[in-house]
């Protein structure tokens, strides 16, 4: 037991001593964006308590093991916190919070995907993170425009948000089904 722990510690030290700057920065960004997403989503009273330490530890999971299930866990926890805040604590759905949460969740997701395929001791050409972040920026820009339009539209419509959400949700669900079907055919 003790020897396995020391062996693991030695392995970790060896990995860290070989690590290079760009993968470390990307993993740090994974942790930071994950933590910020959790911070934006979770209710402020809970964040002020000792839960913040637990959330920071949770955000560390995808940074340490990006190829594992940590990214999914952090995203689901953030969504759970968001639901808790808006439904349980009756917080108002503010535009900036939706924008920030959507952008941070997507950034954390795409950076985790990059960290998963990028070994920590690799020598990285700078155009790799450049291309990656450029594309993420385009995606976030498009979705932000969509968010502003949609939230403005629902505010104009007043109480008919339910129908809009149903329509958009149905369209999205159809799109996802088509996507999954295409992936399955390719396999």
């Amino acid at each position: 037991m003790l020897s396995s722990i020391t062996a693991r510690a030695g392995h970790l030290r060896k990995v860290l001593s070989r690590a290079t700057a760009v993968p470390i920065m990307i993993r740090f960004s994974v942790w930071l964006t994950g933590l910020l997403a959790l911070g934006v989503a979770w209710p402020a009273p809970l964040l002020a308590s000792r839960y913040l330490g637990l959330l920071a530890l949770l955000a560390l999971w995808p940074a340490l093991a990006p190829a594992g299930r940590g990214g999914t866990a952090v995203a689901l926890t953030a969504v759970g916190g968001w639901l808790l805040d808006t439904a349980g604590f009756d917080a108002r759905v503010a535009l900036w919070r939706v924008l920030a949460l959507a952008a941070l969740l997507y950034l954390a997701h795409t950076l985790t995907a990059l960290a998963a395929v990028l070994p920590i001791d690799s020598i990285v050409n700078l155009d790799v993170p450049g291309v990656w972040l450029g594309r993420a920026g385009v995606v976030i820009l498009i979705s932000s425009v969509l968010t502003v339009l949609a939230l403005g539209l629902t505010a104009d419509l007043g109480g008919s948000a339910f129908q809009v959400a149903t329509l958009v949700g149905l369209a999205g669900a159809t799109a996802v089904t088509v996507l999954l079907a295409r992936m399955a055919r390719r396999e």
Binding site: T72, H109, A113, V117, I123, R135, V139, A173
Partner: protein, 422 residues
């Protein structure tokens, strides 16, 4: 091959959309929007082909300690660019290539290629491998990744460094018809042997007029013919002793053997002699005798494949050794069979010189308190064997680079001029 990121995208999009629809919350749908848009942008075109990896390596004449230019080229035959290609390579421990122990992360544009340069240094002779290299490409924003594509290794030929070697002494026996050594037979040549009476067939320009006038009879100066000689380098590869430390480190037995063989071959081939090589080992590889620069290059190529080649049962020296050849045996004299072989060669009348290739600091690993004493005993016993070999007329010399063989070659030449037979 889909990655976990694709699974996460599908799960989050589906879950958020379902929750949005079920709870009537447009904000949840909007949270799902970047994932859906990202998947749509990334997956609307997907690569079909895997990357092609090629390893390039120097084809030039590389000597130990010299610089090596190796590289890896990743080509993308697809119409979609790869977002990230991670290339890993293994290299021989005797090639110190810059950053070759780390993976490289590069992007490869569509229908293009990207190159990774691996400049470095060759530390030891032999066929050193660059590779195998493996490349794993990720495309579509990390949602898809291919399985690693492995390319077989490519060999770099690193030739042994030859210390300048010089042997000014005469060859014991010249065998051929032409060459640079003076033979012991009269004939056309440059070395004056004496003056004798004119006989039919003698060339007029050979007439020594001064002697002829004095004796009032025609006399000619006769010369020793110039002959070449055959040198056989016999390489003892029964075992490897010592630690190979590369060109600037310690030398193992095989290091010394190969470098000395290259130096001796270079010297004699440069002088126009014929050099052949023979391995004293299980496979008994042989390189037939020839002369010239071409043979020198063949010798270097042949030396690259020298390996420790132990053999269990006792075996005899091959009999096809020319009786007039100078046999230079490069041996650590660790195996008793090597000493027997030397004695046999000398008894059969070959001109034999032994070069001791055992490193001075070679010692077995210390296992207990008796190991140093045992090593000392073994050293003393080996000295005994060397002494007995010298008594039998086998000169044994420790390889020390230039001029190593001069002293013993003089002895051998003197012995050769004595009448043969026992």
């Amino acid at each position: 091959m889909p990655t976990r990121a694709l699974g996460r995208t599908v799960l989050l999009t589906g879950l958020l959309l379902l929750l949005g629809v079920a709870l009537g919350r447009v904000d949840l749908v909007l949270l799902a929007a970047p994932f859906a848009i990202g998947a749509a942008i990334n997956l609307h075109r997907r690569p079909k082909a895997v990357p092609e990896v090629t390893i390039t390596a120097d084809e030039e004449h590389i000597v130990e300690g010299g610089e090596v230019e190796a590289g890896i080229t990743v080509a993308n035959p697809d119409v979609i660019g790869y977002d990230l290609v991670v290339v890993r390579t293994r290299t021989s421990p005797w090639l110190r290539l810059r950053h070759a122990d780390r993976p490289f992360a590069i992007t490869v544009p569509s229908d293009g290629w990207a190159a990774i340069d691996l400049p470095g240094e060759a530390l030891r002779w032999g066929r050193q491998d660059v590779g195998p290299a493996a490349a794993r490409a990720a495309a579509c924003g990390g949602l898809l990744a291919c399985r690693p594509i492995v390319t077989p290794a490519r060999g770099v030929r690193v030739y042994p460094v030859t210390e300048p070697f010089n042997a000014t002494e005469a060859m014991p026996a010249a065998a051929g018809l032409v060459g640079a050594h003076r033979s012991r037979r009269p004939g056309e040549g440059g070395e004056l042997a004496g003056v004798r009476q004119f006989a039919p067939g003698d060339r007029l320009r050979r007439i020594d007029w001064r002697v002829s006038l004095r004796t009032r009879d025609l006399h000619v100066a006769y010369t020793l013919s110039d002959r070449d000689a055959e040198v056989l380098l016999l390489l003892d590869v029964l075992g490897e002793v010592g630690l190979a430390g590369g060109v600037r480190g310690s030398s193992s037995v095989l290091d010394t053997t190969v470098r000395a063989a290259a130096a001796i071959a270079e010297h004699y081939l440069h002088r126009g002699d014929r050099v052949s090589l023979l391995e004293y080992g299980a496979s008994g590889r042989r390189l037939r005798a020839a002369s010239g620069r071409r043979q020198y290059l063949t010798v270097l190529e042949w030396l690259l494949d020298v390996r420790a080649d132990p053999v269990e049962e006792s075996f005899v020296v091959p009999h096809h050794i020319s009786s007039s050849a100078l046999v230079v045996v490069l041996t650590p004299l660790v195996d008793p069979r090597a000493a027997d072989m030397l004695a046999q060669l000398t008894q059969s009348g070959r001109y034999t010189v032994a070069v001791d290739t055992l490193p001075t600091d070679a010692a077995p690993p210390v296992r207990n308190q008796w190991t140093p004493a045992a090593s000392r005993l073994w050293r003393i016993e080996r000295e005994n064997v060397l002494g007995r070999l010298r008594e039998h007329g086998v000169p044994v010399v420790t390889w020390a680079g230039a001029g190593s063989l001069d002293l013993v070659l003089r002895d051998v030449a003197r012995m050769a001029s004595a009448p043969r037979g026992r």
